[in-house]
């Protein structure tokens, strides 16, 4: 499994695409949080990162599908999957290796944003007047959200050999699982169905983690979510319908 993981990660790091997508993500984040007056933390006046944590999921909806769209779609198009499948490695190992490589890459997208925390920490009055616990919880939630989106992206990539289609499908699935369930639940506001729909969506669990509360239920939700989509990927890959 390790060789496949290493190859995947290196192939991300050797491609301009990863740098450009992550660069655009960081640029958009910085512009929205520090320069554009409507959303700027400076204009907002409070030393907190809430606007960052409510903005990034929507950027992730585009960033993550762009990073993961090639993972299986390209192998399928070039016919290179056979190079992996005829080695003494199982399908599960290949899927998990590709997934982990994408999740590690996501870390590279998030790490630079720690600068924002540092800046707010320094700018606070008095200095350091920021709820560090809440920030840590939010980062954890954000990373889990990103990992869940990555699982969706890997799955969408296993559906087709066309990377653009894989991108479109995963953008939709990310958007729907993130806020679609919440919006749907509003249709059934007084019903039990509404409450169930709300719990199914990522947004509910993400927000609960953003409050700085680490609840095992949220953790279990994210892990189940990831396992579900990787399981679906296994189903698609295992059948070799291509």
């Amino acid at each position: 499994m390790y060789p496949v993981f290493k190859r995947e990660l290196f192939s991300y790091l050797n491609s301009l695409m990863a740098y450009i997508t992550i660069g655009v993500f960081l640029l958009a984040c910085t512009l929205l949080l520090w320069f554009f007056p409507d959303t700027s933390i400076l204009d907002y006046g409070y030393a907190e990162m809430n606007s960052f944590f409510s903005l990034v999921p929507f950027l992730f909806i585009f960033l993550i599908p762009a990073l993961t769209m090639r993972s299986f779609a390209e192998e399928r198009k070039e016919g290179t999957y056979v190079l992996l499948a005829t080695r003494p490695i199982s399908d599960w190992q290949i899927i998990v290796a590709k997934y982990l490589a994408a999740v590690i890459l996501l870390l590279f997208a998030l790490l630079p944003t720690l600068v924002y925390y540092y800046s707010i920490y320094q700018l606070g009055l008095p200095k350091g007047n920021i709820d560090t616990g809440a920030v840590i919880g939010s980062y954890l939630g954000l990373y889990l959200l990103g990992s869940a989106f990555t699982a969706i992206g890997i799955f969408a990539s296993s559906l087709t050999k066309n990377q653009v289609i894989a991108f479109a499908i995963s953008v939709f699935l990310c958007f729907f699982t993130f806020s679609g369930f919440e919006s749907l639940s509003k249709l059934f506001e007084l019903d039990k169905i509404g409450a169930i729909l709300l719990i199914l969506g990522i947004s509910e669990h993400y927000q609960s983690m953003s409050r700085g509360v680490l609840d095992t239920r949220d953790l279990v939700y994210f892990l189940t979510f990831i396992a579900l989509f990787l399981g679906l990927t296994k189903y698609m890959i295992g059948g070799r319908r291509w």
Binding site: Y2, P3, V4, K6, R7, S11, N14, S15, E78, G79, T80, V82, L83, L84, A85, T86, R87, P88, I89, S90, D91, G238, R240
Partner: protein, 236 residues
């Protein structure tokens, strides 16, 4: 190690790509696997290498069944797929090291250098795979198939698109490898079959129409040439 194929079949919906075929590839022999395009050669090879799961029947290497889940048996198989798919963004040595790592080979560096020499890739070994000419890509394909020194080699059209010099080199290499390995090779070139194969299997529309040694096949249909025999058996 011998390969035994028993009533192997692959159906796609109603279409029978491979229709219950049985044969055996003997140790230390080169088996030529012939047939018109679409006869089911590649599908059969994909099942023997454990890439595709058969609809029914099975293939065995020394009594161990091969299927997509049998990861350990795959250590004994080297496979050159049709059209030689490779990771174009990797360097030759990097790619071969990666393949070696998936088999957890020891002395990986020296083994990579050894296969590069064996297939004649030395002048191009520092290039990216995407930059190589077709002949050299083919050599990388063969190198990745033999790097773990498998006992069984499955080569799907290893000489398609090569120039006459490269053709001779690759044939010599295959012949050399065939001395100690069991090889199944598919090809459309009859001179090649004449030059390197010991046994012949001809399949047509998913069914075996000939399964004999090269000599006895020629004797049986004398004085016809291999091409004429091929035409006669597959034009039905």
């Amino acid at each position: 190690m011998s390969i035994k194929v028993k009533e192997l079949a692959k159906h796609y919906g109603r279409q029978k790509a491979v229709d219950s075929i049985s044969f055996e590839a003997r140790e230390g022999k080169i088996l030529g696997f012939l047939g018109p395009n679409g006869a089911g050669k590649s599908t059969t090879m994909r099942m023997i290498t454990g890439y595709l799961a058969p609809t029914s029947g099975n293939a065995e290497i020394n009594g161990r069944p091969i299927n997509p889940k049998a990861t350990e048996v795959k250590r004994d198989i080297g496979y050159l797929p049709e059209n030689t798919p490779l990771y174009a963004d990797m360097y030759v040595r990097e790619f071969l090291s990666f393949v070696g790592e998936t088999y957890k080979l020891k002395n990986l560096k020296s083994r990579v250098a050894e296969v590069i020499k064996q297939v004649g890739l030395e002048p191009e070994q520092h290039k990216k795979i995407g930059m190589l000419s077709k002949g050299y890509k083919q050599r990388v394909g063969i190198a990745q198939a033999i790097i773990h020194n498998p006992k069984v080699l499955i080569l799907d059209e290893p000489t398609s698109g090569l120039d006459p010099n490269q053709l001779a080199d690759i044939r010599l290499l295959i012949k050399e490898l065939g001395k100690e390995k069991t090889i199944i090779i598919s090809t459309h070139i009859m001179q090649e079959v004449d030059a390197i194969c010991d046994d012949i299997i001809i399949i047509n529309k998913g069914k075996i129409v000939a399964d004999e040694s090269l000599l006895s096949l020629k004797k049986k249909y004398a004085p016809q040439s291999l091409e004429e025999i091929f035409k006669k058996l597959t034009n039905t």
